[in-house]
Symmetry: D2
Subunit: 373 residues, 4 copies
Amino acid sequence: GGCRAPVRVRVLVINTGGTIGMVEEEQGLAPEANKLVKALKKMPMLHDEVYAKENKHCDCPKFPDNTLVLPPSDQNKRIVYTILELSPLLDSSNMTTDDWAKIARNIEKYYEQYDGFVILHGTDTMAYTASALSFMCENLGKTIVLTGSQVPIYELRNDGRANLLGALLIAGQFVIPEVCLYFYHKLYRGNRVTKVDAGSFNAFSSPNLPPLANAEVDITGFIMILFSNVWKAYVLNMVDFIIVVQMNQVKAFLQPPMEGIVLETYGTGNAPNNREDLLDELKKATERKVVILNCTQCLRGSVAAVYATGQTLTAVGVIPGGDMTPEAALAKLSYTLSKSHLSWEEKKEMLSENLRGEMTVVPTGAKISLTDS
Amino acid sequence: GGCRAPVRVRVLVINTGGTIGMVEEEQGLAPEANKLVKALKKMPMLHDEVYAKENKHCDCPKFPDNTLVLPPSDQNKRIVYTILELSPLLDSSNMTTDDWAKIARNIEKYYEQYDGFVILHGTDTMAYTASALSFMCENLGKTIVLTGSQVPIYELRNDGRANLLGALLIAGQFVIPEVCLYFYHKLYRGNRVTKVDAGSFNAFSSPNLPPLANAEVDITGFIMILFSNVWKAYVLNMVDFIIVVQMNQVKAFLQPPMEGIVLETYGTGNAPNNREDLLDELKKATERKVVILNCTQCLRGSVAAVYATGQTLTAVGVIPGGDMTPEAALAKLSYTLSKSHLSWEEKKEMLSENLRGEMTVVPTGAKISLTDS
Amino acid sequence: GGCRAPVRVRVLVINTGGTIGMVEEEQGLAPEANKLVKALKKMPMLHDEVYAKENKHCDCPKFPDNTLVLPPSDQNKRIVYTILELSPLLDSSNMTTDDWAKIARNIEKYYEQYDGFVILHGTDTMAYTASALSFMCENLGKTIVLTGSQVPIYELRNDGRANLLGALLIAGQFVIPEVCLYFYHKLYRGNRVTKVDAGSFNAFSSPNLPPLANAEVDITGFIMILFSNVWKAYVLNMVDFIIVVQMNQVKAFLQPPMEGIVLETYGTGNAPNNREDLLDELKKATERKVVILNCTQCLRGSVAAVYATGQTLTAVGVIPGGDMTPEAALAKLSYTLSKSHLSWEEKKEMLSENLRGEMTVVPTGAKISLTDS
Amino acid sequence: GGCRAPVRVRVLVINTGGTIGMVEEEQGLAPEANKLVKALKKMPMLHDEVYAKENKHCDCPKFPDNTLVLPPSDQNKRIVYTILELSPLLDSSNMTTDDWAKIARNIEKYYEQYDGFVILHGTDTMAYTASALSFMCENLGKTIVLTGSQVPIYELRNDGRANLLGALLIAGQFVIPEVCLYFYHKLYRGNRVTKVDAGSFNAFSSPNLPPLANAEVDITGFIMILFSNVWKAYVLNMVDFIIVVQMNQVKAFLQPPMEGIVLETYGTGNAPNNREDLLDELKKATERKVVILNCTQCLRGSVAAVYATGQTLTAVGVIPGGDMTPEAALAKLSYTLSKSHLSWEEKKEMLSENLRGEMTVVPTGAKISLTDS
C-alpha cells in the first residue's frame, strides 16, 4: 500500500494551453494536444521513472497515464502530480470568461482528491485568469498556483522546466490558501500581478505588493495565513457585459446592456473635468445603476482623491479602485455583478472593500503612517 | 551691454499647468494663473536677484517681468529664462490635441529668440504631449525639455524645484536636438517614456531605451546627435478620429469617421485568433483604409511575429508597432494621418519606419544579434 | 511667549563636516568652519526669515545665532533647529573612534533640551559612525538621523538641501527611537547601510533590510517601535585594537595588543580550509581570547554553516556574523570589547545576539520559513 | 566521418570544483571527483544520448568517456563538449594563484583543439579568477566563459543546469574573444564583476559596465569585438607578494618583500589626510618602487581627484584605479608585476591604462560628457 503514507502528496496540474506546451507550426507557435505528458516523462528533473515503476501497484490515481512523480524534495516529500488537459488547448489570447468558469469547475470537482493545484496558462492573460479565480474560489483552503513560460518547454533553453518545478514544489509542500502566480523564482498573489515584459523570463510584476515568497537558494517568505476549512468554489455565472475603457472612450460603452465598466484613468485617478459631456454620461449611467470602477493607468500607485479632476469622478458616482490592477478590477467587477441576490448598494459596498488581498486598505486619515510624536 | 556675451543663454519656459504650479483649493489641487513667476523669484536656487538687478539695463527680454536668471552654473554660464504662461492653465488630464498644437505654435514663434525650451506640464499626460511634440517638431536643432512634478513647488518638500532646475540646466547648456522629458535626475527621449508610478518622485520609465543622460553628481550621458539646421515646426492639423483600444473593444470603433486605431494587444502582439468576427471587422476596416497600429500592453518588449495569434493580425492588414509605447503610437498615427498629401500606402510605410527614435529597428533576421561564428 | 506651544519642536543639528558643507579649495574640496549657518539662512526652504524675526523675543535657544526655523510643515509644525558645529570640521575619511565619542557626548549633553537630532557627516564613513552610535546610544527614546550629501549645498545643483530638509522633518515630526540614516528620500536603520555608489545621489544601500520609511509624495513606512524612557548615552571608551581583515591577511594582525578582528570572508562565510597555517593561527588567537567575528564580503546574504570551508572557521572559535555589514560588525565589536566588566564568554554571547536590529535572527531550523503542511 | 562538418562545434569544459558539483558531506558541502560527468549524462537537456551513440564512430575526442553532446540548438548547431576535471577539485575559497596558472596552462594546451572554453568554478572567488585569466590570456581569439552555481546540480531545484547550458551555448555559438562570466541569464565581462549576493541565484553584479549579453527569450547583446588571431596564453609567473588592504592597515604590509598593494579607499578614493604617519609610509614605499593601486570600497563609482583627502594619495605616488573592481585591480597588479622585463615606470604606465576593458577611460576634462553648445 503506502499510497497514503504522509511522505506523498498529490497535485493536480490543469493544462489550459499557453506557450509552455506550444510547438512551432507553419503560422507560428500554437498549442498541441496530448504532447506535454509524454515530454515531461523524459525529463528526469520532472519525473522519477524508477520510483514511478516501483510504485505502480499503488493504483490510486484516477489517470494513471497522466500521473508523474517528482524526484524527492529537500523536505523528503514525494510530489505525485496528474496532468488534466483541457480541450481545446488555448493560446491565452483566446481565453474567455467561459474558460475561467471551466477551470473553476475542475478545481471544485477534484478539490478533495488533491493537496494542491497548478494551472498551466499562457502568460498574456494569466494575470486576468489569476484575478478571476481569486474571487471565484471562496473560502479556499489549499494552494492554487498558476504558471507557464515565455519559451516552450520543448526548446533547449527554456523557462518552462524551472517554472513548472517551482510551482509543483510550492503547491505540494506549502499551504498558502490563495490563488498565486509563480514565475521566475517568485511567488506572487494572483490578483496583484501584471505582465510587464514580453521579452524577458522575468515577465511579471506585482507593483503594489512584494512577492509572497522567493524561491532562490532557499525558499523564503513572510506570509500571514488565515486557514479556512469551509471551502466552496463559487463558479461564476460570468457576466460578459463589462469592459475596461479609457476615459475618452467611455461614452460609446455606457449604453445597455453594459452593467459595469472599469475606467483606466491617469495618475491618481484623474480624468478631464472640463468635459461636461463625458461627466454627464457617467452620471446618467451610475443613475441607471451601471457600476463604474476607477483604476490608474500607472503601474504603481493608487487612485486617491487629491486633485480636482479626480474628485469630479467620485462626485458622479464612480467608485475609486485604490491600488488594484485593471486585471483584478475587471475580475472583481465580474464577480460582484454575478451575485444577483445583492442590491446595487451592496455591490458598490463590496467593490469598495478588500475581498482577497487585491487592494491595500489605508485607514482614513492615515496618510502619514509613521508614529506621530 | 553684454547681453549677447557668450556666457549668457536664453531659455523659454512654457507653463501649460500641471501639479508643479498647483495650489490647494476646495475641490482639490488646481492650477492658478500668474502665481508661479512670483514664487520662483523668491527661490535663490532658481533666481539670482542681485545679478538680475545689476543687469536690468540689459533690456533684451520681451517679457521683463517674467524673466528670471539662474545662479551661475558649473560651466559658468548664466541661464536667463522667461516664463510664458498659457491661458487657461490646464490639469494635464484636460489636455487635448488643440493644446498640443498651441504649444508647438509657441515654440515655432519663439524658436529664433531662445537657445532652448522647457515645457512645464502635468505628469498624467506628459508622455503623450512629449510624443506628439517629437513628431510635430521636424528638423529640430535646439533642445526641448518637458518637466513637471508630483508635488507642487509651493510645498515645503517637493520635487518641482529640482526638476525645473535640471531641465533649465539641460536646455540651456546642451544641444540635444530632441523633445526630451526630464524627471528625477534622468533625461529621457520624450517619445519613449510612460508614467509608471503615481506615488513616487521617480514617476517615469523608459522601458525600452535607457535614459539619454543622468544628472547625478555629474551630468553624464552617451548621446549620438544628428544636428540639423533646417528646423521647421510642423504644426499639426490634429486628427481627432483616432483612438487607443483594446482588442475586444475594437468593433465599436471601426466605423467612420474613425481614420486610425492603436490596438493594445497582449504580450508580443497577440490577439484572439478564434474570434472570426473581430478579425473580419479589422479586415473590412483596413480595406476601407483605416490605419491600425499594433502595440503591446506590456511595459517592456516588442510586437513581433512569433505566435499564430499574432500573425493573424498582420494578415488582416494591421501594422506591427514594434516597441513603441502606446503614447508614441497615438502621436505618430495622428502625425501621419495629418499629412494629407500622402497616399495610404505612404502613410503605412511611414508608420513602419523609425522617424524620431521612437522605435527600435532590428535588421531582418537579426534575432540573435551577437556575432555568429 | 508661545515658545513651548505644542506646535514648535526643537532639533539639534550636529555638523561634523563632510561634503555637504565643503568648499572648493586649491587641493580639492575641504570643509570650512562657520560657513554653513550663514548659507542656510539665505535658503527660504530651510529658513523662514520672517517668522524667525517675529519670534525673536522668544529667547529660548541657547545659541540664537545658530538657530533657524523651517517653513511650516504638512502637519503644521514649526521645526526650530540649532546648528552645533564640531571643531575641527572633518572630511569623514579622517574620522576616528574619538570623533564617534565626541558626537555621542554631545547627544548626551543636549538630550533633554531637544526633541530630535540630526548629524551632518561625510558619506564615506557615515555607515561606520551610524553603526557605532547605534550601539553607543542605549535605551534611546528620541530620533537620531545622520545625513549629508554627495555635492556641497553651496553648488547650484546639489542633494544637500533635500537631504537636510528630509532629515529635519523626520527628526522633528516622528519618534523613531533609533539611529537612522536618511539619504535620497529613504530612511534606513543606521547599522544596516553601506555606501555603494560614489557617483550617484542614491549613494547608500541597506542590502538585508528594507528602508524604515520612504519620503516620496507622502512619507510612508512600516515601523515597529519599542519606546523607551530610560535613555542613557553610553559613551564608549573606544577600543582601538580591532580591525577588519581579509582571511589571507589575518596572520599579520593576530598578535597582541589586538583584541578583536572582523574577518571579511567569501560568500556564506567561507575561508580556505586547506591553509592549516592560517587556521592554526586563528585557533591560537581565540585561545588567547581574541574575539573574531566572521562577515561576508557579499553585499547581500548571510554567514551560514553550509560549506565545509565555512564550518572550519566555527570549529576554531570564530563567531558567525549573520547578515551584519562589516561596518556594523566593527562597531559592535568595539562596543562589546569596551564593556570591561563582562567576561570573555559574555562578550562572545553578546556578539551572537541581535542588540539593535543590526542582524536578522532566524530561529534554528527555520530555513524554510513558509508554513509547512 | 562528418566530425568536421560545420554543424558541430567543440567546447572544452574545465571543472575546477565549486558548488555546482558539490555533494553533502558530514562537514558540509564539498566537491567530489569523477561524479559530474556521470550525472550530466543522465540529464537530457545537457546530453543527447541517442545522437551520441549514433555518432560514436566519430572518434575525434581525445577523452571519449568525458565527452557529451547537447541537443540541437536554435541555430542547428551540435555542441560537443568534453569535461576536463582538475585534481584536486577545489572549493573556490581554497583557490590560489597557482590554480589560476593551472587553468591558463590548460587553455593554452587545448587552445587549437576546441572552439570555445567553459570553466566551472565556485562563486566565491570566480570574479578573481575571471579577472586574472582576462589579463593572462593575451591576444585571445576564442570565447572563454566562467560559470558555476549557488546550488549543486544534483539538487532537485538548482541553478547549475541553466548556467552550464547557457555557458555552453555562448562558448559554442558566438565568438566573443574575452574572458566572460555567465550567471543567471547574463553574460558579463569577467574583469568587471563582483559577487554581491550569497543567497540569490542572481549572485553577481557588474556595477560599472552593463552585461555584454542577455540570454532571455532571445540571446541579445551589443558587443564591439576586435578579433585577433595572434593568440598567446601568457601563463603568469604569479607574484604572491601583493595584497588588498584597507587604508588603516597599510602600514603593516609595506615592508619587503611586498611588491604591490591594492588600497581599498572610501568613496571616490579618499583616505585620511591627517594621518601623516600613514602618508609617510606610503611615500617611502613608492620611493622603494612598491606599486600601490587605489580602488574604491564602493560597489559603483570611480576613484577621482575631487577631494583634498583623495589628492593627498596621488601626491605620494599612489596610482588611481578608476572604476576597476578590487578583484580586477589585484589581478592586473599581479599580471603587471610579473612582466619582469618592464621598468618600474613602464609598469606604472601599464597600470594606468585600460588593458582588457577592465576600466573606463574618460578623456581628460570630459567630466561633462554631453555635447556642450
